[in-house]
């Protein structure tokens, strides 16, 4: 394997710093402390053996399972010249595609420079996906066309969608637990603790209080960004952002043929950077859908997000390339792990729409609610529905 050629004057610590920067640019939360720790760790292993160094840095620098799987590729890219990192440092400039590190280039091979055009018009693959009578049929191809989502956060209507989402999030946020917990300022006295403290102290009574802690319902939103949903994608993304803004602990995912966690990308305060990160993630945006597989991926890989207090929100039109039975099974599994499953369907608002396609038929028995979401008004009207859940 070809090794990367470094400038001759680069010291090992400089190279390590560059490697840390390279990892950081690829989404690992690392700082100077980690760089120092990495150098220290190398003194305890055979630093001349690439495999040992790889393993040592892996256990030291990787924070979670997702990045555990991706580390080897990043390591190879840096040390074995499989991709060239950008000169200089981490000033993540997002203005033009060409300034992205070449490491990512293969993913964008299919899209040329004309991302503004691809923005609104569906690519040819999506065009084929639309049937003769204008019925939307999802395709299995993972269309690599990039939708540029950069402009998604600066329109008035998007703001409205966000506001509607915030209202919904608030409606289900203010819940109190039935249990009591000790608190500095609580409404009631905690007699048990007061007496207990008095036993160990002797004469004086220290008053202990207790209160009902807040137990908010948490939203886990899954947004379909497949070909048939492209027209709604921007407004739904704004909707997701609204949900995340109003609720700590809410989680957001996008799915088409795969599932991606976008919570952090959407929470980014820098909206330009957020848009860039989203468009990076939404590679294959506008391809087919496999809702069942996406839901399975949620229960398997992101199970921590699902508790007895979570509401799963699925934003999809229900056109799915997977088998209806698979969808039904995956929903049944999800059902056992969450409190409520709500399906928001943009087709619901259409005149004469009935959920007759196989996928929706399979899904309906597992849902707590199947609600329309085709217009901003419809989104705004959801609030009382959620307050009831």
């Amino acid at each position: 394997m070809q090794t990367t050629r470094f400038p001759a004057r680069a010291t090992p610590s400089e190279r390590m710093a560059d490697f840390i920067a390279h990892l950081r640019m690829n989404g690992m939360p690392l700082g100077p402390t980690e760089g120092a720790a990495a150098l220290e760790a190398l003194t305890h292993v055979d630093a001349l053996s690439p495999e040992e160094v790889r393993r040592a840095l892996k256990v030291l620098l990787v924070p979670d399972a997702d990045r555990w799987r991706g580390f080897d590729a990043l390591f190879d890219a840096f040390w074995f010249n499989l991709g060239k990192t950008r000169e200089g440092t981490t000033q993540a400039s997002v203005h033009s595609r060409s300034s992205r590190p070449t490491l990512w280039q293969p993913h964008f091979a299919s899209s040329g420079g004309d991302d503004t055009e691809a923005d609104m018009t569906p690519s040819t693959e999506d065009g084929e996906a639309e049937g003769v009578e204008g019925n939307l049929i999802a395709t299995r191809t993972e269309a690599l066309s990039q939708r540029d989502l950069r402009n998604l956060m600066d329109e008035a209507s998007l703001r409205e969608a966000q506001a509607a989402a915030r209202k919904i999030a608030r409606a289900i946020r203010d819940r109190r637990s039935r249990r009591r917990r000790q608190a500095r300022r609580g409404r009631e006295l905690d007699m048990r603790r007061t007496l207990r403290a008095a036993i160990s102290k002797g004469d004086a009574f220290d008053l202990h209080h207790r209160t009902q802690p807040p137990r908010p319902m948490r939203i886990v939103a899954l947004c379909d960004v497949s070909g048939s949903m492209t027209v709604y994608a921007r407004v739904f993304l704004a909707f997701l952002k609204g949900l995340l803004d109003a609720q700590t602990g809410a989680e957001a995912f996008l799915f088409h043929t795969r599932l991606m966690r976008v919570t952090q990308a959407l929470q980014d305060h820098d909206s330009l950077r957020a848009a860039t990160r989203l468009s990076l993630m939404a590679e294959g945006f506008g391809g087919g859908t496999d809702i069942g597989a996406a839901i399975n991926a949620l229960t398997d890989r992101h199970g921590y997000a699902l508790t007895g207090r979570s509401i799963v929100l699925i934003l999809s039109d229900g056109y799915c390339t997977g088998a209806p039975e698979a969808l039904s099974q995956s929903l049944a599994r999800l059902r056992r792990k969450t409190r409520r499953i709500v399906w928001l369907n943009p087709l619901m608002g259409w005149r004469d729409y009935a959920p007759v396609n196989a996928a929706m038929q399979a899904a309906l028995p597992h849902l707590d609610a199947h609600l329309p979401a085709n217009t901003l008004d419809a989104l705004a009207r959801l609030e009382p529905e959620f307050a009831r859940l």
């Binding site: 939360p29 980690e34 720790a37 220290e40 760790a41 305890h44 292993v45 495999e51 040992e52 393993r55 040592a56 892996k58 256990v59 030291l60 990787v62 924070p63 979670d64 399972a65 555990w68 036993i199 160990s200 199970g303 921590y304 997000a305 508790t307 599994r333």
Partner: protein, 284 residues
């Protein structure tokens, strides 16, 4: 102890570890940092700590986490009853009331007050609350505990700390940064066979191969609870206990012993005897 020796020693106590895990343990001991082990249920996360304690001939102190675990269960508590009795008997002076004699040490305090460095296993940390996790950070970074009545107790020896988690909840970034990390996945066929041979040396080689192949095949099926290594070992023990030495010849006891592998009703239904016959037929 270098890595090759560590790996060998682990194998000696019946734990087959891959290179990355050995590296993680090696660095955890060298750098004195806690090691966070994640992975699906039943891949031997807890067992890592047990094996390591046996290799180091150190004590294993285990803290099982659960929702609502608090400092008085994890660190220390005063023995009030004993203090009261001592006061009644007037044998205690005020200044002796808060001394070692009346202190109930819980796992974390116990781990840092040992003469010889123990292995501290904090099991299923993701079940504990966020608040406890924050408290744990303090203990794990300084290895000291402050008891208001007695002062600060600093670790005599640094324990080797191993935390396990399997994704009940997302852990805080602070905790992840403080720890080394290793992800254990289900082993491949050779590794699993090595594990089985290490654990059950008396098992016939042919049966061992069949057992491993069937379990590997079952993991590829879509099951609710994928059978782990522990289940595989149980199953092998059950089969050898029943005197089975060829799976394909004995579908009845095969079906009967599946209780060791499949732990939910749906999974049982998903693997009727025909399906099992197909799987066994493939591997035999």
């Amino acid at each position: 102890m270098d890595q090759a020796k560590l790996k060998h020693a682990l194998a000696g106590v019946g734990y087959v570890a891959d290179e990355t895990l050995v590296m993680a343990l090696h660095l955890a001991m060298m750098l004195g940092r806690p090691l966070l082990v994640e992975g699906p249920a039943g891949v031997g996360k807890t067992e890592v700590a047990r094996a390591l304690s046996r290799v180091l001939a150190a004590r294993l102190i285990r803290l099982q986490c659960y929702e609502g675990l608090d400092a008085s269960h994890a660190i220390y508590e005063w023995n009030y009853q004993r203090q009261l009795l001592a006061i009644r008997a007037e044998e205690a002076q005020e200044d002796t009331l808060f001394s070692d004699k009346y202190l109930l040490k819980r796992p974390l305090l116990e781990a840092i007050t040992q003469e010889e460095a123990p292995v501290l296993l904090i099991d299923e940390i993701d079940r504990a609350d966020m608040e406890f996790e924050a408290y744990l950070l303090e203990v794990l970074s300084d290895f000291q505990v402050t008891i208001p009545e007695m002062g600060t107790i600093t670790a005599v020896t640094k324990p080797v700390v191993i935390l396990t988690a399997n994704g009940t909840r997302d852990l805080s970034d602070a905790l992840r940064r403080r720890c080394l990390y290793a992800y254990l996945d289900f082993p491949d066929r050779e590794t699993e066979l090595a594990i089985l041979t290490a654990r059950a040396p008396d098992l016939e080689h042919r049966l061992a191969q069949q057992v491993v192949a069937v379990v590997q095949a079952l993991r590829r099926e879509e099951l609710e609870k994928t059978p782990g290594i522990a289940e595989m070992l149980d199953w092998a023990a059950a089969l050898s206990g029943l005197g089975v030495n060829d799976l394909s010849g004995d579908p009845k006891s095969l079906q009967a012993t599946l209780v060791c592998l499949l732990k939910t009703a749906t999974d049982r239904d998903a693997c009727p005897s025909e399906v099992m016959a197909r799987i066994v037929g493939k591997v035999a």
